[in-house]
Symmetry: C2
Subunit: 437 residues, 2 copies
């Protein structure tokens, strides 16, 4: 029986045209984060299971990991996220590294989920982390960086919006203001995280099940709803506004405003799934009604490096998936037209292969990317092949051309034909390539 | 108990300095293969187990794969090699693709082996494949491409040597010339593949065990040794030299010679482990006595695409691992000195952070990569941090500088200090960066 040509479910093959788009997205990510002084790192896709058991969400570890035992009996996982890995790497060189430390990576991550729009089993994710900055200038930099990336992709300001919240503020509101017990606080927090996936009445029903009769009677449900409906910090109860966490959020919003970033607002319903966040958290949403979902998120996780037996390091980071980015660029018509990397297709006529090698070498040494056609095919067919490959220029080399040392360069888009020597071909094609940038 | 900071055994963390070297190697690979008209593709790291069971070597599939059952009961593998994947992808679009098809990829691959010099459990591998060319011009292009990559890395011609053989010639010599049965042919072929890992007498002992008493009496062992000792095609028995396979090898050597590639020779002991090769096979060896091993290899595998239920496609390809390349570059002193991507480190003095944002934005918009220091640290300490990060330039921004709109740019290597406005800083640093290329 023939083997299946399909890739593994929920994962993608990248044919050259797909890979080009990926390279465009990754290249743009890299350019902007490096402009902010971040350096690239990487790590193995396999990790020991225990680094996720500590602080990644239970749902991911228990139900969504690609975990197995290796041939030596080790419990291993194909990484579902990068944060535990980067924390491990920083911990390993805690003393040698110079802070503030700015690192990024674009790893592929795996989660066993039902594949759907915006969610696949394998995706790539830009991970950016700033280690060693305890005050909110770290969050200001992170959010400014995210904003700069959107701009670099050509995204209009009204195409995305940033939302921020603070874990300590959530804990205060649920634990102290509403007076819930730790277990109830945690359950309510997880419920709020799924708020947008249910209607209001079913949310209220679930809240009521978590609260005690006494809490319900005191009006905790209504108070909770009022908190979640707050559109600004000023809509929160006064006591809450006085909390350091609320003041830090206000400072963040102020600094972002002065940096010209105004499409950012407080959102008390923003939770972020991971257990390790302990400070400001943020997400960016697509404003397109057809694609109105969280595209990326991050926050402060000061405790993770410390789990590896070294003193903790204050850290802020975010992750941005390639699938949500691609959907966003598509929805807002921001996908560029990308061309093959090949500059010219050499059409060999007759038995000219041997003689053509020197010309081809001159072109390549001149910095051109040159593909050579199969000489046993008709000229017309070779033209069609070049066209199908999206290569704009063909160069015809036959016995006559080799004798004259002048070759016909044809542009398949404009139809223009030039007869040139090898040096002039290099100059002409490099000029054309430059004009396209 | 604290979590371990070690990566998974036999796999590597890539700190920024390691990642830089990887990017240099991958970038050089990409540049040269694209110059030959190859386009990049990619695919999921997880594949269905059955695509390896067909034609990858038994040893790899049974003993060295990272295979497991996913949560849906599918038998999956973290890919141990890329060839079955690329064949699957070509088969999936067999009719739409335009041949000759030139594809490359730099996947990470996993094999459960004892980690040792040159072999790790995770490694990256340049995979280059040319689909749709049946004659040996495909092999000429592949080997020319490999040679061009060595040159691009600055490798002297005497630092590596290419060796070629032909699977059909091996089959002829063992099956027809020596008259061995198919099973014995296969066993002897696998034994020759491990020839360099044993001494001559133990090799002879193992050969004698595979041969029948009759074959041994007829002198098959001595004939086999004479074949394996052949340094040139002309050293082979006359009947063998007349075989189409031998003539194809002679043609390949002739064409390579005319292309200026002379460090290539026939090697009758060259087998290549994979079962799918069916024509010319080749390997490249490091000539350094301390590192005298195969660095890369490839060959013709015309049958693999056809396993996916479509007509077969003639194919030649090779794989080149990052670990062997790195060892080679190290042994021959070809590793370049690589610098951080960050151009300048901004040292904030006092409460200048807010005011400095405009200057920093001007630098970044000018194309510079700018990291910002933590303003709560002393100036001297901030200089030390920049130095430790390998960032050559620091820019000092304090209240005075902001008032004058002129800032001190200091080169930490030369010690030179300049007082410039923001535009002049961009110009100065871009000029310095350009001079370094």
């Amino acid at each position: 029986m023939a083997l299946s040509t399909k890739p593994y479910k929920g994962a993608r093959d990248f044919y050259p045209e797909d890979k080009r788009l990926q390279q465009y997205m990754f290249g743009t990510w890299r350019r902007v984060v490096e402009r902010f002084g971040y350096e690239e790192y990487d790590a193995p896709i396999l990790e020991h299971l225990d680094i996720y058991q500590a602080k990644t969400s239970e749902e991911i570890v228990n139900d969504q990991t690609y975990s197995f035992e290796d041939r030596g009996g080790r419990a291993v996982v194909i990484r579902p996220e990068m944060t535990p890995t980067v924390s491990r790497m920083v911990a390993a060189k805690r003393q040698e590294l110079a802070y503030p430390l700015r690192w990024y990576s674009i790893p592929n991550l795996w989660r066993y989920e039902r594949p759907q729009r915006g969610r696949l089993r394998e995706h790539w994710q830009l991970n950016v982390d700033l280690f060693g900055v305890a005050d909110c200038s770290a969050e200001v930099e992170m959010i400014s960086l995210v904003d700069a990336i959107f701009k670099e992709f050509g995204a209009p300001k009204d195409s995305y919006e940033l939302r921020v919240n603070h874990r300590a503020l959530v804990d205060y509101l649920l634990g102290e203001y509403l007076g819930l017990k730790p277990a109830a606080t945690r359950d309510i927090r997880k419920l709020i995280d799924r708020l947008h996936k249910m209607d209001r009445s079913s949310f209220i029903g679930k809240v009521d099940k978590i609260l005690t009769a006494n809490e319900r009677q005191k009006g905790a449900t209504e108070q909770l709803l009022a908190i979640l409906d707050a559109k600004k910090l000023k809509d929160l109860p006064l006591q809450a506004q006085k909390q350091p966490a609320a003041q830090e959020l206000a400072e963040l919003l102020k600094q972002l405003k002065s940096a010209g970033i105004t499409n950012v607002s407080f959102d008390g319903t923003l939770m972020r799934g991971f257990d390790y966040y302990n400070g400001i958290v943020f997400e960016v949403f697509d404003t397109d009604p057809g694609n109105n979902r969280s595209m990326l998120g991050g926050g402060r996780y000061d405790g993770l490096v410390g789990l590896f037996g070294v003193p903790p390091v204050p850290t802020v980071g975010f992750g941005w998936g390639d699938v949500t980015l691609m959907n966003f660029l598509g929805a807002h018509d921001l996908l560029p037209k990308l061309h093959t990397t090949t500059d010219v297709y050499v059409v060999l006529v007759g038995d000219s292969s041997q003689g053509a090698q020197k010309v081809i070498a001159t072109l390549r040494n001149g910095g051109l990317n040159v593909a050579v056609g199969a000489s046993n095919k008709k000229i017309g067919d070779q033209f069609k092949i070049a066209d199908k490959k999206g290569i704009e220029n063909v160069l015809i080399i036959g016995k006559n051309e080799l004798e004259k040392q002048r070759y016909t360069l044809k542009n398949l888009v404009s139809g223009q034909e030039l007869e040139l020597d090898d040096k002039a071909i290099v100059a002409s094609l490099k000029k054309a390539a430059k004009a396209k940038l």
